[in-house]
Amino acid sequence: MAIELEHYLILGALLFSIGLYMALAKRNFVGVLMGIEMMFNAVNLTFIAFSRFPRFADMTDAERLSGHVFVIFVITVAAAEAAVALALAMLVYRNRETIDVDRMDLLKW
């Protein structure tokens, strides 16, 4: 059985769901961040898969590589986001001695 686009899409869907569950349910802030990075990975995988299996026959290689360029930008933004998020985690830890997201509830009342 040859590997088709659907294989990659379902793999991306499963990876995205695992990441979504982690981002929703994990208690530790770093765990939430791991889930977010996993979702980024799933979406990037779908981008690359759509770029490898094009829909129109008259697309040039440069047009098909737009997906790759988009993935580069996603990775850049993910790196910036991870740096800022981990700095925020350090800041919360310095004030509260915890990075559990269910104990960051000062704004709750």
Partner: protein, 168 residues
């Protein structure tokens, strides 16, 4: 994508990626979770290679495996008195339900849709074409990304800089 080697490679890499992603969810110790997350990232890099995306695969190894995972390890190590366990909050059951619904819906849609793929074969090599696209068609987002990285780096330094302890 017909030869046996690429099919075997796809299934092995898919099993590696999904298996270590599941292990990241299930394992209790955060440090081990990060190490397994690195394995998952490496599996995704291998999948990029099966899709003939060589440059993106190298970038994935450099940035995700090399940089972001190390940042996460730093964050875990620098918060020593915080909980080191990887447990769930009370959102566990809704999280499982929502994630399962998401996976089911996307899989159903991707199986149900006629993607009308025209098989074109892989790319010869992608790095030079990506470089030309970044400096030609996408030059404005490219420059904005440079500014974004600079601002994010400055912001991260400023946030964790200890107050009142200027140098000297």
């Amino acid at each position: 994508m017909e030869d046996t080697g690429s099919i075997v490679a796809f299934w092995l890499l898919a099993a590696l990626t999904l298996g270590s992603a599941l292990a990241v969810v299930l394992i209790r110790d955060l440090i081990r979770a990060v190490v397994l997350l690195i394995t998952s990232f490496l599996g995704v890099a291998g999948l990029y290679i099966t899709l003939s995306a060589d440059f993106v695969a190298v970038v994935q190894v450099l940035i995700y495996v090399g940089a972001i995972s190390v940042l996460m390890l730093f964050a875990i190590m620098l918060t020593p008195r915080a909980g080191r366990n990887n447990a769930e909050t009370f959102f566990r059951i809704p999280g499982i339900l929502l994630a399962g619904l998401m996976a089911f819906t996307i899989s159903l849609v991707s199986l149900d849709t006629d993607w009308a793929v025209v098989e074109r074969g892989g790319f010869e090599e992608t790095a030079s074409a990506i470089g030309e696209a970044l400096l030609d068609k996408y030059v404005l987002p490219f420059e904005l990304a440079a500014v974004l990285l600079l601002v994010a780096m400055l912001g991260a330094i400023l946030l964790v800089h200890p107050e009142g302890t200027d140098e000297e």
